[in-house]
Amino acid sequence: MGEAIVITSGKGGVGKTTTSANVGTALALQGKRVCLVDTDIGLRNLDVVMGLENRIIYDLVDVVEGRCKIHQAVVKDKRFEDLLYLLPAAQTSDKTAVTPEQMKKLVDELKQDYDYIVIDCPAGIEQGYKNAVAGADKAIVVTTPEVSAVRDADRIIGLLEKEENVEAPKLIINRIRSHMMKNGDMLDVDEITAHLSIDLIGIVADDDEVIKASNHGEPIALNPNSKASVSYRNIARRILGEAVPLQPLEEESKGVFSKLKKFFGVK
């Protein structure tokens, strides 16, 4: 029996879809069977980020309305040997095409076949959010070090805490610019975590490579040389229950030793 994790944020554009794609990919790299579910009906993106757009035949709404079976709708990622799948959202209908009850049934069914169901939630707190959360067991809230994103994260955490089926949400702080944080021009990691008072599960630095990779339909997690990739892989390991320390934020230092020294040294 698998576990369903919803990736949500409230605010748009903070990196929910990128996070979903990369956390899902990183979990598959760890040898888990993963199904990504895009619940952003009408504005689907996850298929593009995964580079699976042109293989879509059926979508989530087709499954819910009984036009096809789940295994017909899921798109297999060829980069993996039977580990990573995507259930795409419909592009032609809107969020009201699916009810939370239908979503819950769908996710419960997927949990029979996969170790992890990663649900990409649309922005907002309306129907789309309710659908995405309906079947989830765990939640990850994505935010950026901006006041507006943190405010919306706070709101969404409040809503998630009311959901009985969802465990206490975990936090990812995305798009960190270390020089701005150091100068105090951005909220820093400790400030955000203290403010939202939930557990941090990972931080991801702002990295041009992430955007490049997304545009090529190739999740950055597949590229072991990128810093952001390591961040996503660490998040996956933490989801699996490993204790992995946060990586240092400074880029300038080269060697592993000096990086470590910086991390443990004076802030």
């Binding site: 405010r151 919306d152 706070d154 709101r155 955490i157 409040g158 403010h195 008072s197």
Partner: protein
């Protein structure tokens, strides 16, 4: 001819007091009150006189209270100042209890959430920006207040807001509102502070130790030293 009088009028130095017996029926009481007030005519005096009504262990509904007030007012130049009874309904008792108790809550009040209590509120946690706490009485916050706090929300000017970290976006007490200054870049600590309405009807923020003099009623402890 009759055993006891159901209605007695007593004059004290504070004014007149009408004692209404609680063992007779309401109808009887009304009749006698009517008679009694007609007897001792005071029509020569045109000065209005206030009177307090004591009804003993009788419960009067709102309508009955109005009826008695009306009756007394019509007869003489009497104005009913208050009606006091030894009994209240369970409902009223519960409401009174609610208004007088301190409700403790361990929670983070996040953006979009509203927490409301009838009496005093003791919040063990933060109020984040966009979150609101409201209380009929005082608000005590053991964490950081960064959202909105509304104390004495049913119109109690004596209510106060206390927080370990006072960085509210707005403070409301009764129907007064105060907000944080727009250029709130002061690096002051703002720890352990309270907000109250001062003598100029302004919401003032100060160290919480001043409350001991300004609002001695907050102390509920009886006796001791």
């Amino acid at each position: 001819m009759k055993k006891n009088q159901n209605v007695t009028i007593k004059g004290t130095k504070d004014g007149l007091t009408l004692h209404l017996d609680d063992s007779c029926s309401y109808g009887e009481l009304k009749k006698e009150l009517d008679r009694k007030l007609s007897e001792n005519s005071r029509s020569d005096e045109d000065r209005l006189l206030s009177v307090r009504v004591q009804v003993g262990n009788r419960y009067l509904t709102k309508e009955q209270q109005e009826e008695l007030k009306e009756l007394i007012r019509q007869k003489k130049n009497l104005i009913v100042e208050s009606i006091s009874s030894n009994v209240i309904t369970k409902e009223e008792a519960e409401k009174q209890k609610e208004e007088n108790e301190v409700v403790s809550v361990a929670k983070v009040i996040r953006s979009g959430q509203v927490l409301e209590t009838a009496g005093d509120l003791l919040l063990i946690g933060d109020v984040n920006p966009g979150g609101t706490v409201m209380a009929g009485g005082n608000i005590f916050i053991m964490g950081a207040l960064k959202g909105i706090a509304h104390a004495g929300c049913h119109g109690n000017n004596e209510a106060v807001v206390v927080a370990s970290l006072m960085k509210p976006s707005q403070i409301r007490i009764s129907n007064f509102i105060n907000r944080a200054p727009d250029n709130d870049q002061d690096e002051e600590k703002r720890e352990m502070e309270c907000a109250y309405i001062d003598e100029n009807d302004q919401i003032t923020v100060d160290r919480l130790q001043v409350l001991m003099h300004l609002r001695p009623n907050i102390t509920r402890l009886q006796g001791g030293s």
